[in-house]
């Protein structure tokens, strides 16, 4: 059994290629006078799965939101898939097409059906025909195991179902990178696992993932690397095994003891 898990993990890790898809070089950001991100350096390879954790207010959300320009960084460089993220709108558009995002509060479009939520961007951004977009959408809705809900409206679904629709909606754009911002924190316990299952399956397909989460089981299972943030800095990063069993800094140790306490 143990051997099984190891080989599985080895296999997953071998999916990580040399190609770099996210580069952040001494990225800094302020909200007014408040210094949220301090000299962030981060490189993510294609197929790599990175879990980001840290106490509330440490800048995790801000960090991943900088990657698709929902937040604007003020200093340093961000390069996504070879495209420099600057004020050039064309670059921002290119990057957003290739980067999917899943939010803590789902943010489905309540006036559109589940299917329409999924086909909207492919039709209007990728200029796909409606029929083609619907085929793609049904494929991903099947992957997240809710094809039968396609005609319903988001308000008629449970939280877990909504979050799976949100994942399918992002996947329909065929992104190279997926960002998750605490995708399970707004969910009841029995729904967390259905969303995590979908995320694990996604990880198995070799998707590059950056995931802010406190689900340590998920981190151990799929992450290639765990990043710990505090006060806007990357405090420590390591492979999950090393990170959890053998943290190097006292701050990390304290944090781990706190989240594992209950």
């Amino acid at each position: 059994m143990a051997i099984d898990t190891i080989t599985e993990q080895e296999q997953l890790k071998s999916a990580v290629s040399d190609e770099v898809v996210v580069t952040m070089v001494s990225v800094n950001k302020w909200f007014g006078d408040f210094h949220v991100l301090k000299d962030i350096d981060l490189t993510v390879h294609k197929g790599e799965r990175v879990v980001i954790c840290g106490p509330s207010g440490s800048g995790k959300s801000t960090l991943i939101r900088c990657i698709n320009r929902l937040e604007e960084h003020q200093r340093g460089d961000i390069v996504i898939n070879g495209v420099v993220l600057d004020n050039n709108l064309k670059n921002i558009d290119t990057i957003r097409r290739d980067v999917g995002m899943v939010f803590q509060s789902f943010n489905l479009f309540p006036h559109l059906s589940v299917l329409e939520n999924c086909t909207l961007a492919p039709i209007w951004v990728r200029n796909m025909s409606k029929r083609e977009a619907e085929e793609v959408a049904m494929e991903y809705l099947t992957r997240v195991k809710i094809p039968e809900q396609a005609a319903k409206y988001p308000g008629q679904l449970s939280g877990g179902q909504q979050q799976r629709v949100a994942i399918a909606r992002s996947l329909c754009m065929n992104p190279q990178i997926m960002l998750f911002d605490e995708p399970t924190s707004a969910l009841d316990p029995e729904m967390i696992s259905e969303v995590l299952d979908v995320m694990v399956e996604l990880a198995d397909t070799g998707m590059t993932m950056l995931c802010v989460t406190h689900e340590m089981g998920f981190a151990k299972r799929v992450a290639d690397r765990v990043i710990f943030m505090d006060f806007g800095e990357i405090v420590e990063q390591n492979t999950p095994n090393e990170f959890f069993d053998n943290p190097q800094l006292d701050r990390t140790k304290l944090f781990l003891s706190q989240i594992l306490a209950h």
């Binding site: 479009f109 209007w124 951004v125 988001p154």
Partner: protein, 451 residues
């Protein structure tokens, strides 16, 4: 009744729900309702009785005024008074009724107004027929194309070059819409499909399939253009327009222009570009802090000063421009309220999937915001419809203007109350209908996506 529990084969006690029993007497039904709502204690009984007394009093007074004293047959006001002591002169209202509706529009030409109204109804009605396709095109053309046709039908006279071209466009468009609707209802396929099918273009690419449509439109346009080249309507100057007709023209144009211009202004007000933002804020605040009547006076007295000598800008056009500007400013604030109600997450999710500004607004934000704003938008429309009565002060004979004109008619001199009551009734019916329809719309649209 036996309290011994029944058990199933495994010895488990079987749950049996208690049978429902009728409610205690007098809490339901008419008597129960009356008791509970109207005579529930001393205070409520007293309030009910006082309210009833007031209601009966008002009704009797009105009945006496309108029915008992009502005079329907008379040649002038004098006869009304003599016929019954201080009789209520409905005869005057009857005599003037056509004036209330059409103003001083020449009687032999009134069919033009009625026909235009009928065309508008026919043009809009398909929006409520489920089987009809391309509803957005039909709705938009009713707002953008119909006014040119109606404008010519109302005004008449020689057509200038622009009208020579546009009137046939509107006619062809209307005819095509009607044929399209019939085909949709009868065959399930729209006019476009049929043309493409009949010309044998159905298995060509989408782009090629457009050619027969364009050709058909061009041929129809040329035919109509040729057919009506010598046809003109008698010219009726805007000074003869009046009554409910004029009220509807002014408020209709105001309403149709208010929503798009209000949306543009509201988006401008939230724009990141300072110049655009300042311009929009300036416009909105300026027109919101000045009473409509002032804007109307300014429009009729000051516009002409800015215009070159020869160009005459008639009073009606000035009034319409003034009403449009005023309505746009108010609508902008209503729309802004709706935009603010949309959570930030909606913008973020839409941007994150790669939609640009206009698509985020048009596909995600505005559809939700407009739905939230329906009561306010309709409220705005109702307000505008009533506010157009102010144009009577700058000398246009809208419904209120016509009503006031009655009392200057030598035959009916001094007749105020009855015409005013009639105008009030007309306004009430129109506004009440709008309000009811908005409530229905709200319920219908809200049904799809309860949050």
């Amino acid at each position: 009744m036996s309290d011994v529990p029944t058990r199933d084969a495994d010895g488990m006690i079987i749950f049996r729900p208690k049978p429902s029993q009728p409610p205690p007497p007098n809490t339901t039904g008419v008597i129960g309702w009356l008791r509970f709502n109207l005579f529930n204690g001393i205070f409520s009984t007293l309030a009910t009785l006082i309210g009833l007394a007031a209601l009966v009093y008002v009704f009797l007074a009105f009945y006496d005024w309108a029915i008992v004293k009502g005079v329907w047959e008379a040649q002038n006001r004098q006869e009304c008074r003599l016929g019954k002591e201080w009789g209520t002169c409905w005869a005057g209202v009857e005599f003037w009724f056509s004036g209330f509706i059409y103003g001083r529009y020449p009687a032999p030409e009134i069919w033009r107004i009625n026909l235009a109204a009928l065309i508008l109804v026919l043009w809009m009605a398909p929006l409520w027929i489920p089987r009809v396709t391309a509803k957005s095109v039909i709705g938009l053309s009713a707002v953008l194309v119909f006014p040119f046709l109606a404008g010519y039908m109302f005004l008449g006279g020689e057509r200038n070059l622009f009208m020579v071209a546009v009137v046939p466009v509107a006619m062809v468009w209307f005819a095509a819409t009607m044929v399209h609707v019939l085909l949709c209802v009868l065959t399930g396929h729209g006019l476009g499909r049929w043309i493409i099918h009949l010309t044998g273009f159905s298995n060509r690419s989408d782009r090629a399939a457009r050619y027969p449509l364009m050709a058909a439109a061009a041929v129809a346009w040329l035919l109509v253009l040729f057919a009506i080249r010598d046809w003109t309507l008698v010219e009726v100057g805007t000074n003869r327009w009046g009554g409910l007709f004029l009220t509807t023209v002014i408020s209709g144009i105001g309403i149709a222009s208010a929503l798009p211009s209000g949306i543009v202004l509201a988006l401008g007000r939230r724009s990141k570009m300072p110049i655009i933002r300042i311009l929009c804020i300036g416009f909105i605040e300026l027109f919101r802090s000045v009473p409509l009547i002032t804007i109307l006076f300014m429009a009729t007295t000051m516009f002409p000063l800015f215009l070159p000598e020869g160009l005459v800008f008639n009073k009606l056009a000035s009034a319409i421009v003034a009403v449009c500007l005023f309505a746009a400013a108010y609508m902008a604030e209503t729309v802004r309220g709706g935009l603010q109600a949309i959570p930030k997450g909606q913008y973020e999710a839409a941007e994150a999937v790669g939609l640009g500004y206009w698509k985020v607004m048009g596909l995600i934000v505005l559809p939700q915001a407009l739905k939230l704003m329906i009561p306010n938008i309709v409220g705005n429309f109702i307000g505008l419809f009533k506010d157009t009565t102010l144009v009577s002060i700058i000398g246009l004979y809208d419904l209120l203007g016509m009503v006031k004109a009655v009392s200057h008619d030598p035959q009916w001199i001094g007749l105020h109350h009855e015409p005013l009551f009639t105008a009030a009734l007309i306004f009430f019916l129109a506004c009440f209908a709008m309000s009811k329809y908005s409530q229905y719309l709200e319920r219908k649209l809200g049904a799809g996506d309860r949050r």
